[in-house]
Subunit: 343 residues, 2 copies
Amino acid sequence: MNLKELATQLGLSPTTVSRALNGYPEVNEATRERVMAAAKRTNYRPNTRAIRLATGRSLAVGHVIPIATRHEIVNPIFADFIAGAGETYSRNGYDMLLSVVADDTEETTYRELKLRGAVDGVIVHSPRTHDPRIELLRDIGLPFVVHGRASGISIPYSWVDVNNRRAFHRATEFLLDLGHSRIALINGLEYMDFAVRRRSGYVDALASRGIAANPAFMTSDQMTEVAGFHAAQKMLAMANAPTAFLVASMISAMGVRRAIEAAGLVMGRDVSVIIHDDDLSYLQNGEAVPIFTATRSSVREAGRLVAEMLLHVIAEPQVAPQQRLLEAELIIGQSTGPAPGRL
Amino acid sequence: MNLKELATQLGLSPTTVSRALNGYPEVNEATRERVMAAAKRTNYRPNTRAIRLATGRSLAVGHVIPIATRHEIVNPIFADFIAGAGETYSRNGYDMLLSVVADDTEETTYRELKLRGAVDGVIVHSPRTHDPRIELLRDIGLPFVVHGRASGISIPYSWVDVNNRRAFHRATEFLLDLGHSRIALINGLEYMDFAVRRRSGYVDALASRGIAANPAFMTSDQMTEVAGFHAAQKMLAMANAPTAFLVASMISAMGVRRAIEAAGLVMGRDVSVIIHDDDLSYLQNGEAVPIFTATRSSVREAGRLVAEMLLHVIAEPQVAPQQRLLEAELIIGQSTGPAPGRL
DNA sequence: GAATCATCTCAAACCGCTTTGGATTTCTCA
DNA sequence: TGAGAAATCCAAAGCGGTTTGAGATGATTC
């Protein structure tokens, strides 16, 4: 069933039928209802391919997921972020296009998405400090919103980010208030902008209490269980081991916990841990009382917000770039307590 | 830059240019090279929207992700599965379309994808025992491949699945051989087909050694850390607690491990654990020596295979449905040992 | 009663590509 | 040399919608 057929059945022209269905004012209300009813009855759905060609819009948003050559890590927050963004797209009649590409072809991918006219805009994931994608997208004129920020980029662009700096600043202060002074940072990869901001929050909080950050207490690696385990294990073996850990993610923290237990220590008593909790649906941080004390910010909600902003940018291309900074909440769980020997 | 313009520049007709670019035989080799060079020079990319309308194909595959009303779980294997499938699509010039929809509109979503002509085929995720999607898709004539199987469906259809029954059968036997007799099963939700198959492998292995499955030793729930923790905690508190656990996923198992440690026991010594390991990139099961003894099967590889099968089904719609059964490997880690009191 | 104006509807162009059905030119070989 | 075959290339008709510009109809105004 297509427009023309439907029009013939109704004894109307395709023009009128199209206008009736799309809510244009120049069609009689009675006619419109008749058309609507017929469309419903015949189960008519306009062909997406035709709409896209005719309107010059693709009603689709692209997400480019770079994957390094072999066995590279898929970001674990990805599923929840996508779920959030996807809800927004569905609600607004947009499709979500995922491109999984080798990371050295990411730039080409954006260019092609634009040239092919496959999408109306894209979301930029996991920005680095000097992320070249931002200028690229501006240059080729493909609307975009960044999930996160790129501190090294000075041109204005739209983004949604968590206040990572403040979150880690607060978390560090919280540990300091508990009497900890040997606080370690198990960070994500520090070419990622969010990781840099977290570290600066941590370093500054220490500095404001006159503590110089100890390089031996700072690591930066993939946010995996195994990496978290190694980092914590190594630090716990030191003569003056840390009494507290600031950990970049729930998953890293599971490795940290494993290392703590392997060392015969008890988390929350001998060693305190604060994590950043993305509120992943499959990795809830406990129930009534959280397992880990955490700075929490829902990545799913972020997905919704980023998607909404992008649809807005697409709809109103001439407005100035928008920004939205989300604050993380500090929630107290069972993984923190006073520094040992201070009670 | 579009076809017509390019043709004008070259002094050729759009027909010839199109044929030259698409490798049709009826164009002079010299002409083809001239066209190719011009296309490259001008950075020409055919407009996807136009190709789709003209060919009647969308060169896109749909993945429908149902999300229950509020705060429902996103399947943690999703990211890796998508990464695998996405690689296949990219390599073959297909786009991946993700639809995140409320779970009560899933059926409508498939219908609309078909009516709108948005995709050439779909992947069916997480089939239930009597999954209505299979007959629906057959009825509306939308090509599909199921990741998993639906035991209750007798019509033939294409699928790629892991031999879950055998995997859990072997794992159970392995524990029995170690002298365990009180073996618990912490399963996924048993309306999922794979969970049913796993249970039957477990039950049958016990039965073949003359052991009747104890209902108190079998639970079925979401595969989350918290659920795993609760299930294990409850069982470990029993008078005759299990000495071994068979756990449906790495994430559940992290909860199980937490419960074991909370009970003052040592995993691998007091309590053995075998998990099913989907080989998630962000949740590697240890390194040289796995943390958990596991039945392992890469979900990313499964994604690749499912996608390849679907592209094949789309290309050759008339061939009979295909099936592919993958075997899981049983890998020995540090979480299993002889039953206590047997050494 | 003619002129003006809304209101409603339609024919046709267009989006950018593919593909059918020739037309034209060049080869081939008796 | 000339007919048939092969090799090239092209005009035009879709694909299924949207949208422009104009026509038809009926109501309103002077």
